[in-house]
Amino acid sequence: MIRKMLSAAGALGGTLGLAGTAFAQAAAAASSAAPAAAASAAPAAAATPALIDLAKLAPAAQAVAQAGMMNKGDNAWMLVSSALVLMMSVPALALFYGGLVRTKNMLSVLMQVFMIISIGSLVWCFWGYSMAFTSNSIPALAPFVGGLSKAFLMNTSATTVAATFSNNVYIPEYTYIIFQMTFAIITPALIVGSLADRVKFWPLMLFMVLWMTLVYFPVAHMVWYWAGPDFYAASKGTDGGYMFNKGALDFAGGTVVHINAGIAGLVGCLFLGKRVGYGKEPMPPHSLTMTMIGASLLWVGWFGFNAGSNLEANGGASLAFFNTFVATAAAALSWALCDQFVHGKPSMLGAASGAVAGLVAVTPASGYAGPMGSIVLGLLVSPLCFLFVTKVKAKFNYDDALDVFGVHCIGGIFGALATGVLDSPKLGGAGFMDYTVFPAVAGKYDMGAQMITQLTGVAITLLWSGIVSAILYYLVDKLFGLRPSADVEREGLDINEHGERAYNY
């Protein structure tokens, strides 16, 4: 199926404009396109593109029209990507974190991640998708959070569609809901790394439901929600989230996922305080083998995360895939070199940490930077994160147990800002598409202005997530208590919170 389309879908004001399959070929030939007054049924006669109001077509014709704007390859890729991103949560993230804690707390980490994604999936279906990815009928709230028109998946079905980044290319809305669900559930799961070894299970689950609702969904809405390429122009660039309208670039979630979770993790570890025995007794990782498996699965799963964020199985997905691959490789190497120079030996944990830092940093840039730019990005992010987890953490003496802040927040900030630089076509970047005109055209890149926008996005995410998280920690702690007793903590969360041990030799 060729991609075509043209003309003023926006002029139809909300109706779905599309060229029917029958005249797609002809339409492509005439892509300069004036809005067609009347659609001719004869393909040969369709010298001008046709616009059809989907809702007014008979069911059979609707099916034909939809087949023309949806591509089975896109849908297949997005479903595979969704499964890959789920794999990033379980088992990848769970094993990555689990290997880093002591034997007595292994199950607590696995269980926290497992249940956050289970509960989070339900929250996503109940009100999350609607809050993140619909427009809001209250104008004052519209830039910041979606409405409830699709709460409990109302008004969605296997035949409704979601926009991609190309004019008149759509994927099934269910696919989009599933794909975005995997993002919404891994983000709160990232936070548990900061709180590891010292948090009660059910209060943590309550915190996560509240955090998704009041932090993740609004931030995702601000950065990612928009009306889609066919209708955004008609809204004159206003029917989108606050940061999207400003032009913030975050391809796959540097701000929405990593800065968001990273700062919530920092606030959480400050709120909970240090683990019993922190700095006095050794707390070495109980299985770096698990951590290596987890980091490796994260690397693989991240192809779904980043290349899937392209929403179409085209060259843009290949670019994001490529960037994700090489930035990670570069970052693993540069962390290993940091280890070598500072501690005299290259450590496996260092390589795994570097790989994750590289993945985090390339996330916002993956669809914009070029592969060489991504390699530079990877090489630079690890020394920065290394500095934070080895020196800054010790200097300020906070117990970010598994370095969620040092790797995810710092790596995310670095990636978000670097995106503003590496996206420049002069540096091999992809530039950006200007969707305020229809059909979209390549925008003129202004690095200075873009950097200010990127900084604004970072600052808003840090403040929003940091402040709201602090309030939620306080609230849940007052209601149910977040931290277990010192005795429970010494004996381990596995046996006390879950009644099991991870290993029975």
């Binding site: 707390m283 070495p284 990782p285 030996k345 940490s353 290394f386 953490k393 370095d403």
Partner: protein, 112 residues
Amino acid sequence: MKFIVAIIKPFKLDEVRDALGALGVAGMTVTEVKGFGRQKGQTEIYRGAEYSTNMLPKVKIEIAASDELAPRVVETIQQAASTDTIGDGKVFVLDLGSATRIRTGETGDTAL
């Protein structure tokens, strides 16, 4: 009868076992243990957090032997377990009051 307790480097266990087998020692008990002596510990570093481990992994061998065999057992362990560096371990010999084979009730040297 003597009770011989030897602390050796873990990777020397097979050599010691083979040498003692050749000598006619019919059984031993082996335990993985940790401890320290003159050998310094090692430093482990996890994302900049340094832990010095002053307890090192060793293997403890326990052997009951007749008075005649005991000196040769000690000598064999000493030779087989040596790497000529600190941390090779030690061999202790204790007097053994009695020995009983559970299956038959035999006692003394015949129970060994």
